[in-house]
């Protein structure tokens, strides 16, 4: 462990880190633009210059490894002068259009120019102008502002795995662009906006919408997929202006998917803001009293066996728990949270969790993906798989239709027959799985949401058990719905086999169901968007979207996380658990809680797994004892056909519609309206 002196302070750090990192550990701030701890080191902005004793000139601390006995000084006149000089050069061609720049107020260049720059410039020559580039519907470019740190290029190449960004030309003529100016085809592309230390890459949907100091920031959790990425919701008044990632090393590091970031404009459209009752085939507005009365009357007049309840993909644990309590008080047992019909057992937690955990992927050395496209089903799990691949010594194989996951994948076959061959040892991959030190298996909904899903599960589970090592559970289920794990934890599954055809169906935000199968049943829809469920509904109870309520979500690892209220629901819409509580009053069977705190207490009492917030309780590998029949179906089909539209919120989002046109259907026109940002 090398010892070095930083500003007179002795510090011992691990070998192999850089001087900049050592300075950070010593509590000394070093300005930087190109350096980013999750990207490779470029060393091209020169902002991190420090003085090293016995070195003839200032050193770039981001690229200098620590060595024994180094004496580093960061507060000398030499360092001050060097920083001023670098800053002066960076500003030679920077437009200084901060008043009209969306980065203003949260700009590294602005902040560092204030802290380390001069109070005036000495250059009077003309600044260069660079034509703006097209990078897709999400990333707005004003390339004149670019300082060529190449963070975006390194992000696209290393993290996103789409080698499409590059720096063309040299010196004064260097320009960042995508190859042939095509949209950046990645599910995590918008992270370059956060990485850009200046206003060259900014958010297109958010352009000229708000200033950072006008926004109220709420730390919450994402529900667009089952990953449960940490997000920050920025609101102005009632309106959600933008969603940004928050640091959570265990889940999303500091990235979020484009859907998590940009589906938020869907929160403003197609909202259900008052109760409705269907009269003569048409939905007419009603009061809460009328709507709840109508629901209560219908539920009371129906035999419990003919009542069904379905939980949607975005529901919070509290409302699921409340609904389960309500259904139990009615005696109804036809409950279901697996909207897609996935044949997932719910008896033991280890049966349906991503047991390896997302951070645990980094320990694995072999991965078999069965019927899943992690790139679309859980973009940040795929980012983590790619990170593991970039570390070296990691092989990925997959069963299912051809995949492009941004890292090499060996396609073993496309259906359960290949899985069966591996399970019985006749496939050469079985040997690899056996000899791997830390193997993992990822089982997707594409393999389970089919008639023979139970048989596929049994086969995959057998293989998953073979992935168990000492203290390592290699069996993983890749969920696609944010509510699924919580609902399975709460046991929101049918208590009896082959339930009767329901006469009354209660949908808690359930839109991804085949609604035709309910025939003429009376449908109650509780949710926040006028989507499929609401169209079919006979009574609509307007609920709150994920940014409008405090709620518990459990991600695919089984991590219990808190979503927080960032703005209030529109109009007469109410938080979901309150609606269920009010309905229980109308039914004359009040649920035993009046506040969210009381509800959560009951919830944790009944289900202790909800107690530890933010942590994963590991589940040891338990051999599967279920029976296995031979699967009968053909090739797997991936559950998501369009990454950008998977739930009521993203379907209502105009930005997601643009992304669909640009990336999925390929019908978006190139942006013809391009200038230099200073073109008038």
């Amino acid at each position: 462990m090398p010892k070095l002196t930083i500003d007179g302070q002795e510090i011992e750090v691990e070998a192999g880190i850089t001087v900049l990192q050592a300075c950070e550990r010593a509590g000394v701030e070093i300005p930087r633009f190109c350096y980013h701890e999750r990207l490779s080191i470029a060393g091209n902005c020169r902002m991190c210059l420090v003085e090293q004793e016995k070195a003839p000139k200032p050193i770039a601390s981001c690229a200098m490894p620590v060595m024994e006995g180094m004496v580093i000084k960061t507060d000398t006149p030499l360092v001050k002068k060097a920083r001023r000089g670098v800053m002066e050069f960076l500003l030679v061609n920077h437009p200084l259009d901060c008043p009209i720049c969306d980065q203003g107020g949260e700009c590294d260049l602005q902040d560092q120019a204030m802290a380390y720059g001069m109070d005036h410039g000495r250059y009077h020559e003309n600044k260069r102008a660079v034509r703006d580039k097209y990078m897709g519907p999400l990333v707005k470019t004003i390339m004149t502002r670019c300082i060529h740190c190449t963070r975006c290029v390194r992000f696209a190449t290393e993290v996103a795995g789409v080698e499409e960004l590059g720096a063309l030309g040299r010196g004064e003529h260097m320009e960042i662009t995508t190859y042939l100016e095509k949209a950046l085809a990645s599910e995590v592309s918008a992270n370059v906006i956060d990485l850009c230390p200046v206003g060259a890459l900014t958010s297109r949907p958010y352009a000229f919408n708000a200033r950072p100091w006008e926004l109220r920031k709420t730390e919450s959790v994402d529900v667009m997929d089952a990953v449960g990425a940490a997000i920050r919701v920025d609101t102005r008044g009632r309106e959600v202006m933008r969603v940004l990632p928050r640091l959570n090393e265990d889940v999303n590091e500091e990235w979020i998917s484009d859907k998590s970031r940009y589906a938020c404009d869907g929160l403003k459209r197609q909202r259900l803001d008052r109760p409705y009752i269907r009269k003569d085939g048409k939905l007419v507005p009603a009061s809460w009293g009328e709507a709840l009365g109508a629901v209560a009357a219908k539920l009371k007049g129906t035999a419990p066996a003919k009542i069904a309840a379905r939980v949607g993909d975005l529901a919070d644990a509290e409302s699921i728990f409340a609904l389960k309590g309500l259904m139990a008080s009615l005696g109804a047992t036809n409950l279901e949270c697996r909207q897609d019909g996935a044949h997932l057992p719910s008896a033991s937690r280890g049966d349906y969790l991503f047991n390896t955990t997302i951070a645990g992927i980094e320990k694995a050395d072999l991965c078999l993906i069965v019927g899943a496209n992690p790139r679309w089903e859980a973009a940040l799990v795929n980012t983590r798989l790619r990170k593991r691949y970039m570390m070296g010594g990691f092989k990925v194989a997959a069963i299912g239709p051809k995949l492009d996951l941004t890292y090499p994948v060996e396609m073993l076959g496309d259906g359960p027959s290949t899985l069966a061959a591996i399970a019985d040892g006749s496939h050469p991959f079985a040997e690899k799985l056996k000899s791997a030190k830390v193997p993992m298996l990822i089982l997707g909904m594409g393999a389970l949401s089919r008639p023979d899903g139970a048989a596929v599960y049994a086969l995959a589970r057998k293989l998953g058990d073979a992935c168990a090592r000492d203290g390592w559970n290699g069996f993983n289920v890749l969920h696609t719905a944010a509510s699924r794990v919580a609902a399975l934890d709460l046991g929101f599954v049918p208590a009896t086999q082959n339930p009767e055809a329901p006469e009354v169906v209660y949908l808690l935000g359930a839109d991804e169901l085949d609604l035709a199968k309910f025939g003429k049943a009376f449908v109650i829809y509780q949710g926040h968007h006028g989507d499929r469920g609401a169209h079919r509904a006979d009574v609509i109870l307007p609920g709150a979207a994920y940014t409008e309520k405090n709620g518990i979500y459990v991600n695919l690892e089984g991590r219990v996380q808190l979503g927080r209220l960032a703005s209030t629901p529109p109009g007469e819409a109410r938080e979901d658990w309150k609606i269920v509580r009010a309905l229980s009053d109308a039914l004359g069977k009040p649920l035993p809680f009046n506040t969210l705190e009381a509800l959560r207490q009951k919830l944790v009492q009944a289900h202790p797994v909800f107690a530890p917030i933010g942590q994963v309780t590991p589940v040891a590998s338990m051999p599967w004892s279920g029976s296995a029949s031979a699967p009968s179906g053909g090739a797997f089909a991936y559950p998501i056909q369009n990454f950008y539209m998977t739930d009521p919120i993203s379907r209502a989002s105009a930005t997601m519609a643009e992304c669909t046109e640009a990336f999925v259907t390929g019908t978006a026109p190139m942006d013809a309206n391009r200038g230099t940002g200073t073109h008038g």
């Binding site: 590059g166 063309l168 030309g169």
Partner: protein, 198 residues
């Protein structure tokens, strides 16, 4: 880069040459061969690299096209815009300039009917100014293709251009009768061997 999409492939001889170059680098490091391969491609494609050539080389070396484009755009000797099938490069750096490269440039421009940085209407000949080509001892000079034409003046430059336009045979080297870099009119020192002197 705006050229219409077409396909490109090395001729058998160039392919063999490319393979020889790629083989110089260890397995997995083929990308190191990108610069010589681009040079071969440019030569084969009439002194021009378009999207087709860049993507062909990228594909051959297992690189992303943007990485190859980065290399090609960084170095000035890769032509991403038509530079003429034959490129006339006139040196105008100080030694050549002192020896009258201005007149050479003017003569070339006049004879070809184009300015520096332009290409003749038939696309055959391009003319550019370049920095020092390292033949200052024979200044002023210019380069056509792979050959140097040295010790020029306005008249010899004009003749050279006329011959080039007519497709005639050009004789590389000094154009004023000088032998390589010997003094004009022959050697003046070391004309005999020391042993003969005694």
């Amino acid at each position: 880069m705006s050229a219409p999409r077409k396909t490109f492939a090395f001729t058998p001889e160039n392919l063999a040459e490319a393979k020889k170059i790629i083989a110089k680098y260890p397995a997995g490091r083929q990308a190191s061969a990108v610069m010589p391969l681009l040079a071969i491609a440019q030569k084969q494609n009439d002194n021009l690299l378009t999207q087709a050539e860049l993507e062909y080389v990228a594909d051959m070396l297992g690189m992303a096209p943007i990485r190859v484009h980065e290399v090609a755009s960084f170095y000035t000797m890769y032509n991403l815009k038509p530079a003429g099938k034959v490129q006339v490069q006139v040196c105008t750096t100080t030694p050549c300039w002192l020896r009258g490269s201005d007149q050479v440039v003017e003569a070339c421009e006049k004879a070809l009917g184009i300015h520096c940085g332009e290409v003749t209407a038939d696309g055959k000949i391009g003319l550019i100014e370049v920095e020092c080509l390292g033949a200052c001892v024979n200044a002023p000079m210019l380069q056509i293709g792979d050959d140097y034409y040295e010790d020029l003046d306005a008249e010899s430059a004009r003749k050279l251009m006329e011959a080039l336009k007519a497709g005639g045979v050009l004789k590389p080297g000094p154009q004023n009768g000088r032998k390589t870099s010997e003094p004009l009119g022959g050697a003046t020192t070391l004309t005999s061997f020391p042993a003969e002197k005694a």
